[in-house]
Symmetry: C2
Subunit: 345 residues, 2 copies
Amino acid sequence: MLECRTPLETYDTITLGHGGGGRLTQELIQELLLPAFRNRHLEDLHDGAVLRTDHARLAFTTDSFVVHPYIFPGGDIGSLAVHGTANDLAMCGARPLYLSLAFILEEGLPVEHLRRIVGSVRDACREGALEIVTGDTKVVERGKGDGLFINTAGIGAVIPGVEISPRRVRPGDRVLLSGSIAEHGIAILSVREGIEFESKLVSDSANLWPLVSGLLQVGGVAVHALRDATRGGVASVANEIARTAGVGMVLEEAQVPVREEVRGACEILGLDPLYVANEGVFLAFVAPEAVETALETLRRHPLGQSARLIGEVTPDHPGVVRLRTRYGATRVVDLLSGEQLPRIC
Amino acid sequence: MLECRTPLETYDTITLGHGGGGRLTQELIQELLLPAFRNRHLEDLHDGAVLRTDHARLAFTTDSFVVHPYIFPGGDIGSLAVHGTANDLAMCGARPLYLSLAFILEEGLPVEHLRRIVGSVRDACREGALEIVTGDTKVVERGKGDGLFINTAGIGAVIPGVEISPRRVRPGDRVLLSGSIAEHGIAILSVREGIEFESKLVSDSANLWPLVSGLLQVGGVAVHALRDATRGGVASVANEIARTAGVGMVLEEAQVPVREEVRGACEILGLDPLYVANEGVFLAFVAPEAVETALETLRRHPLGQSARLIGEVTPDHPGVVRLRTRYGATRVVDLLSGEQLPRIC
C-alpha cells in the first residue's frame, strides 16, 4: 500500500534547504506555518502585513528567545515567546494585538519539535486573542545554532488615558508583586541539571494581559509603572526602575511570596529567589491611595491570587534598592554582575 | 599613568554575563547601544516603545539575519538588517518609520565587531530617517551561535491611496526590474570562498524606499505589486508572485541586466544569476499604460539607473514563470528545490 506523505513529511529533520527561499521553504510555510496561523494578513504571502489601525498610541516591542532546553515543564520556547512579547506590551499598558514570528533553525532540528512548538505558538495566540501577521524562517548549519531560536516582535494598542512609564514612579508609590516568584527559572534549571524534586516544578509562563487589563480598569492613572520580572528576577527589574526613575526602594523580604518547594529548590541550588527569572509575574508601582483596590483586583484573577504589597518607593538612596530581611536587618539588593542562569528565556 | 577604561572597555569579547540582565547587560546598553540610537523612546528604558500614530494603515514586517560572513564587501549584517527591513516595508508601499533591533550574540564575539555593526545600524538608520525604538540582547554559549544574528522588525506608514499586493497582479501587467542583479550573492560568496575577481564585487545592499517612493508618486494605483529579489533571486520571487496571484509570467533573458564581472563570476561559480540573492533590487508589477513613466522615474534615481522592462504577466500557465532565452527558446524557470547559497542574508 502506498503511504501518502506530503512533501514536508518526507523530511524528519530541518535541512539548510528549508531556509533557502526555494521549494523547501515554500513547503515549510504551506504545510506547517500557514495552517497554524491562517489569517487574512498571512494569506497575502506579502513581505509584510498591512494593518488597519485607529489607535492613537501603539506599543511596539521585540524579544529573542534562546531558552535551553526549548521544551520545559509548563511550556516551550513557542508559548514562552508569545507570553513574553504579550507581557512586554501589557507592561506598556497596551492590549497585545499583532505578533511577528521569526525562526532561526539549526540544521538537523527534528521537524516534529518544530511542529510542536508552532502548535504552542498557535495555542498561546488563540488564548490571548493575538494574531501572527508576518514571519521569517532562516536555517543555519549544524553547530552554528542550538535547535531553534525565536524572535517575536509585537504591536499593541495603548489603553486610552493610561500613562505607564518608569519615569512616572515617585516617592510614596507602593510596590505590588502579582504572584509568587522564581518558578520559571527553577523549572528550567531542574530539567537542565536533571534534578528531581518531590513535587513537579513548572514554569509560571503566562500571558499577563488579562490581569493587567483588570488592574488598569480600576487603577487607571494611579498605576505609574509596570515591569515583568523576567531575566534577573524581581531584584534586577526593581533596580532598573529605581535607576531610571531616580528613586530609592525598600522591599520587605517577608512579603515576597515564594512557594515552599521553590524556596527549597533555591536553597539546594544556592540561588536567591529574588534574582531568579519569572515569566508570569510583574511589579506594579501604584499611588498609595489605590493600593487596596489594586490588590483586590489582582487577587480576583487566578494569576494574581498571591499578589502582595512588597515595598515602597523612597526619596532617599536614589537608584538603590534595599531589602528589609525577615530578621529586621536592611541590606542593599544590587544588580548581579553577570548572569545567574544563562539562556533562561 | 592610569588608563581610563569604561566598564565595557575592560571586556574584549562578549561573555554570557552580557546577556544575563544584570550589570554587564546594563553596561552594554548604556555604553554601546543607547549612545548609538539615543531617542525619546529608548531613553525611557521601558519594555517597549509607545508610538503616537495617526496613520490609518501600518505595514509590519520582520526578518532575521544570519549572513555569513557578517562583514562583507559593501556592508555588514547591521546595514543589511536595516536595508532588508526597510525594503520589506517599502514593498508594502509603506514609508519605513520604526525598527526594533534584537541581537543573539555568541560568547566570544569581539566587542569591536559588535561596535562596528552597531555603527552600521546607526548610519543606515540615519540615512533612511528610521528610528530604532526598542531592542533586546541575548547571549548564547560558544558553539551555540555564530558570532551574531540580528532580528529587525519594522513598522511603516502605508502611503494613502496606494494598494500594493501580490493578489492585485493581473494578466497584461508588465514586469519591471529596478537594477542589475546577483551582486549581493556573488559578493558574499567571493569572500566566503576566498575568490578574488579582477574588479571588486560589492553587495548591492541599499534602502530602496527613496526609489519606491518616487515610483509611487507617479505610478500610484498603477503599481500593483512590488517584491525585492532577495533570497532565491529574481526567479524565486517571480515564482512566488505567479503562484499567489494565480497568473503566468514570461521574462526576457536578454532584458535582465547583469554586470559583466558578475556574469563572469556566476559562470566560474556555476550559478544562474536569476537565482542569486539581491539586497537592493526589486520587481514591480505595473499596469501597461504606466510603464513608460514608471521606467523614467526609476531611472532618474541612482539606484534605478539600470531599470528595465523584463517581462509580462500572462493569463495562461498560471503559477508558472517562463524565460525566453537570448536564443529564442522558452524554458520554465522553476523554484529551486533547496538553497543555492545558504546564509546569504
